[in-house]
Subunit: 82 residues, 5 copies
């Protein structure tokens, strides 16, 4: 899994139907407590907001996190770090 | 997911039958609002064109985005960023 | 698989139900016997603790390691290196 | 997907039975029209030869490209770029 | 697929039951005939030994190479290069 801070959200009006309602967040990754220059776009599943530190799962696990195995997601926010 | 700008399309006449009709786009990735030197080739699924900023899903999620789970795609454009 | 040393654990109270009870460890990767600046967050499955050198499996294999194929994990600690 | 030029082929006499007959090609990747220092080894599925520019699919999609979902391939050449 | 030279083996007494009997090899990757500073840990499936040049498959394909789709492997040696 990856850890990072949510920096913003991305709005896409024209998108696949299966993604309607998804909240796309741009997340700056953290390694060993330090911010990196790496970013990933993940769909939120836990009600996380900008500025929160979150855990992200990637790959086919992302779909399980959405409880929708037909959603074409490859990265999902699955937890908020305390 | 990844975000980027479509820079061009790639033409392949000799290809797998399952890919006939697919529109291959070369996309320059964007991180945190800035262009990077990274590129990915993705199949379009939303009618996106050169110069548009798009969202791309990768891995096994790409096939779900095409509604064709037998298509050997590993990256698909699933949304156009507003 | 990846090899690394467990450097810490990550606490997330608000998380997906399917992840309740999972122990998230931050692991510093080792290549050819030398520490790198790369880190990964993995769920423990073998009772490993901070300071131990471990093996990590990634991707869809991670779920098999948890014997729970509906858990949205993408990295799991599967062994402790002697 | 990835784009690159086939630079050579790799011969492996002792290999898994499921890979017998597979043609392994070493491909130098191209980004935005420029050669990179990145290489990948992919199985050919379209009759491509050394010096040709090709499209490669990776991950679980590779197996679909081979029409053999039990073949342990993670990268397959699926098209020749015009 | 990846190509590399086996540099050593990794011993893990405490590991997942599904991995008992697996031979973990640390492999130094080769790109275009030159050694890199990249290493990967892969399970051997072809009787390869230290110093041999091998082909490695990664991701979900690794499990197919082991003929054991419940083994949490993400990298497996599938051939020895001549």
């Amino acid at each position: 899994m990856l850890k990072g801070i949510i920096r913003g959200n991305i709005v896409s009006t024209r998108k696949q139907e299966s993604l309607v309602g998804s909240k796309f967040m741009e997340v700056q990754l953290i390694k060993n407590g330090a911010l990196t220059e790496e970013f990933i776009i993940a769909i939120d599943s836990v009600g996380a907001g900008i500025g929160e530190t979150v855990l992200i799962t990637t790959g086919s696990a992302a779909r399980l996190a959405l409880h929708n195995t037909s959603c074409p997601a490859d990265a999902v926010i699955v937890g908020i770090v305390d």
